[in-house]
Symmetry: C2
Subunit: 627 residues, 2 copies
């Protein structure tokens, strides 16, 4: 490899920019950048396809920093390769509203392809992107850098298993194999044969023995990895955490600034000027000027597909009418899903091995995404809820809509990627069925009681629990329109159609579905969701002086103006919530709550309704004590 | 193997009892019992050490049904081997309050060693039990039966990795290798080399080629597995889901009753009387009478260790006084933890690779649990939050207290086992540090905002967020006393000591920590938790007519009598909550809320306080608009 001395100078520039950033803000992680700078240099300067002037170029390679704490290095290379960062931005590392936050935050125009930090997510995100590329016939490569932590997380195993199964040869994981985690050497807890594990998952395994210095080997192996024929590749890169510093190879260098003295010693070791910080020498600048010119020349304008727009699809879903027949809302969901899949080309529906229960079967069962076919709109995720949702985040960064599904109670398995979707506003639709104790015999391990409260507590996430087919259709319209993730909550049991349910009204989050004959007699408002709306109406009919408000989406109701809110829920009228689950969140809207603040029971639905007091008579009696 | 025809008759009895149960309740999973009955027969009747009259015998082997949906089979064998089940109980399968719910629910006197259902959990639970046995020098074996689903879940990988690392040769996983999941054949999504994967994780791999019939081979391999010298064992057992039925080998037999006709055909195939259901023939009964007699004879009374009781420990923690020095509550936690570890023999503290940040380092760093040493009280879990919490559930089923730790935001990784702990009331203490946006520069991926609401929504779980050293000490006392899981929430930043904080008062969940000089002027009550208590007091001092209530534990406050609640939070006084997180749950106690209903920011703590309006001045201004 020619120009070696300049290359090392560039690598050391990356190392020292990163160290200076961490020192300057007195916060951050210098260890990983010191070890990984050579890989990042080779990757961005010799391997990856990108255009800093068109960061959204759809044919670009993707880079994900799954070990997101090492982001000082990422910001440094993005700065040098011409993305929209200044030296000032690097100096503002980890400061309020800077372009360089403590972990990478999704921002395609700045070259950050996905938010990372919680370990392991990035690997699954990469699997999602690789699937998207295959589906859209984009000839690019997804690079995921990760550390030991990412590989120890279960989600990385789930994602790697599916990646091997699908033969995602456009995926390359760069494993910073430095033998150190925060608590010490990896041998205190991580002694498995990682190579063999990835071989067992049908991956191509490559290795660089000296990732601190051997840029020729890094280049050769990255070239090999990129050209793998039918397997994803993991490249083991032996590095030294904190390379070059006096703390090299120690866990102490992971997450604390080096400080002045150790930085001076490091700069000595790297033959850099210890008087200078945030320094980029002229020959380094010149190298990147040439690189940038080359990147411009390599850039080929891509042709954007014209696909049926989501607005058109929403229009057509409106035509799905509330028929006479009663459905479980999961069945109504299936009707809408089929329409979406028929109309939208860029959609991938899937379930974590509960397709029939979740009612996500929408295509010919024999025609699903497999290693030989990425044109299908259905993906079997296997029993991998966590990876499924993290893969969905990756898919969503392309112009593809992922719709993923499992039982509502199993959000406990996939909350990490749901939170990341909310944080980054990924357009993902979750179909969560079996939404209450009323699923029956499977019992408390499968019966959600706390799940709706959990979802509603997450910022930026819309949670919608429709009461009938009409609201299901409205819920999908909202989800398709929403520029972020939406959780759709569906029942296992059949629900009657509500006379006054309305697609348009539900877009305000809550609205009146039943009014007493003499409105002036109004004494009580029952706020209900999903399967409890028809029960609320039954109760209201008995009581006679009671309004029922269907509130499928609290978040949307919160966004309405005061007048609307006051019209629906007037201050001077007592309110009661009715939902078969945790009451904690309902005091926000109601004076008293009616719910289930304990775990469920394995029993027939009729027995459950009776045991948990979700019957007309018991609710009526409760209301009597309050009025 | 002698008596073969009787053995097959017993196996078929197990199969048909299970099928009859599912038919009778018209709900459940017949597929797995038909395939796994031979293994369960050999295991319980020829291999396992247990005493049906002393189900709590501490030297017994443990059996975990990780694929809990197959529980009809488990209830059948427990019934036959003499546990406290009647034929009536089997007939009441999946009925309200029966002993035979839809998935196994933790009940040691009935032989259910842990609740299962959510897939993969049981494997990690088994790892926890195996660790407990090693620590207590109990010479027994932990058997975990699982299916494909359990192995596809990331938690099984995490747990298997740590099991191999610790050389848990007392752990045997029985893998029902039937090639079928709910969505179809496993080859649609699960094509990895599972053997090689477990070899890479340092497991012993054995195989039974005909699990439907070859009881000699099952016996031989179980015998081999039990005597593995330095590795956990996975035994692949090739079976046919729904063996013997017309749906054999099809996913359709997994989770639906066979129905009358198919059951008759099955009974024909198994040479059973199709006129009879829930039938146990006399020779089968006689076999089990003999077996029960043998089990009684094999039973050796065990000697219970006398360990320092938890009550004594609680007493001694009380003596940890609030010193003048201010601590971050995570540091106060470390002081208490050291005391607990000093006093309690049966405790295992650990963190998911954040020991220094979580302040869980309580023993000599060189002396931790490893393959050669289970006497330590510290376990490095690695970066495996999910397995950590599931392992803790397993540990807790012995007389050992697990204390596990990570950042609060990462409850997203381990909510499934936290929920199981709450459901089963496992005594587990969670130490969740870095409890708000005030952790600073690491940014929104690491800053919890929704986490407290999530924990508070889970039934049976105590969530405690102390405001200073005194409350930290009280929080541990509550946790040690609590017969279920407790989440302790600690700050990264230093917090001042509160003058009137009180160990005894906090046991009521909430209490007055600041009162205006003229109590009759009381106009407002600020309810605060953790790091916001001192801020609330500052505000109250400025306002002059304001009480401050510290509410470290909402759940405990909810349990107090009406008088106490009214004394602390009188109805006629306006209340405001103050907590640096999601406000959704606070309307239960407060008329208005002050919190953070969006994701955080990467910045210095001072900037964060200002940006999120958590300053004296801004809170005062807010209150002015409300009064």
């Amino acid at each position: 490899m020619n120009n070696c001395s300049l290359y090392y100078k560039i690598i050391n520039t990356l190392r020292l920019l990163s160290v200076d950033m961490v020192n300057n803000s007195n916060s951050g992680h210098p260890g990983m950048p010191l070890g990984c700078a050579p890989t990042i240099f080779v990757l961005y300067c010799m391997i990856m396809k990108f255009n800093f002037e068109e960061p959204l170029w759809d044919l670009r390679d993707r880079f994900i920093l799954s070990n997101g704490h090492g982001c000082a290095l990422l910001y440094s290379i993005l700065y040098l390769t011409g993305y929209n960062y200044s030296l000032e931005d690097l100096k503002n590392f980890r400061q309020l509203h800077s372009k360089t936050p403590g972990h990478p935050e999704y921002n395609k125009t700045l070259g950050i392809e996905i938010s990372t930090g919680p370990l392991g997510q990035g690997i699954a995100n990469g699997v999602g992107m690789a699937i998207s590329s295959k589906k859209l016939n984009i000839d690019n490569t997804i690079y995921v850098m990760c550390g030991d932590g990412c590989l120890m997380e279960g989600v990385s195993y789930e994602a790697a298993s599916i990646a091997g199964h699908l033969q995602l040869n456009n995926l390359v994981v760069l494993y910073d194999d430095n033998g150190i985690t925060i608590d010490g050497k990896t041998d205190i807890t991580f002694t498995e044969d990682v190579r063999k594990r990835f071989e067992s998952l049908q991956w191509n395994v490559l290795e660089v023995l000296d990732g601190n210095n051997d840029i020729q080997d890094i280049f050769d192996k990255l070239t090999l990895a990129k050209n793998s024929t039918n397997k994803p590749t993991i490249l083991f890169i032996k590095t030294t955490i904190g390379y070059g510093s006096v703390l090299a190879g120690k866990n102490a260098v992971h997450g604390a600034p080096l400080g002045q003295k150790n930085t001076e010693l490091l700069k000595d070791f790297l033959k850099a000027d210890k008087e200078k910080s945030f320094f980029v020498d002229d020959d380094v600048k010149e190298y990147f000027n040439v690189l940038k010119q080359r990147k411009k020349e390599e850039y080929i304008k891509s042709i954007t597909n014209t696909t049926k727009s989501i607005d058109n699809v929403i229009q057509e879903i409106t035509t799905i009418k509330n028929e006479d027949k009663s459905y479980a809302t999961r069945d109504s969901s299936n009707i809408v899903l089929r329409k979406i899949v028929e109309l939208l080309s860029n959609v991938i529906v899937g379930s974590a091995d509960l397709a029939e229960s979740n009612k996500t079967l929408v295509t010919d069962p024999a025609f699903y995404i497999s290693k030989n076919n990425f044109q299908s709109k259905y993906l079997h995720y296997g029993i991998r809820e966590h990876a499924m949702c993290a893969i969905a985040n990756g898919i969503s960064t392309y112009d593809i809509l992922p719709i993923v599904s499992t039982f509502l109670v199993f959000i406990t398995y996939c909350l990490a990627p749901i939170r990341m979707a909310a944080l980054s506003k990924h357009k993902v639709i979750y179909v969560f069925t079996h939404d209450s104790v009323f699923l029956g015999e499977d019992g408390p391990t499968h019966q959600p009681v706390e799940s709706l409260t959990i979802l509603r507590s997450i910022p930026n996430l819309l949670t919608i629990r429709p009461c009938d087919t009409t609201e299901v259709s409205g819920a999908y319209q909202i989800a398709l329109k929403n520029e972020g993730p939406t959780a759709l909550i569906f029942s296992r049991q059949v629900l009657p159609n509500i006379e006054k349910s309305s697609v348009e009204d539900m877009k305000k989050g809550a609205y009146i579905v039943y009014e007493p004959e003499e409105k002036r007699d109004l004494e009580l408002i029952i706020i209900a969701t999903g399967s409890e709306v028809h029960l609320a109406i039954e109760v209201a009919k008995k009581i006679g002086t009671c309004r029922v408000v269907s509130m499928p989406c609290c978040e949307l109701f919160d966004q309405q103006d005061t007048k609307y809110k006051e019209d629906v829920l007037p201050k001077n009228i007592k309110k009661m919530s009715l939902e078969a689950g945790c009451t904690l969140g309902w005091y926000k809207y109601a004076d008293y709550t009616y719910g289930i603040d304990r775990f469920g029971e394995s029993a027939k639905i009729t027995d459950i309704k009776d045991f948990f007091d979700f019957t007309l008579e018991k609710i009526q009696n409760f209301i009597k004590t309050k009025m």
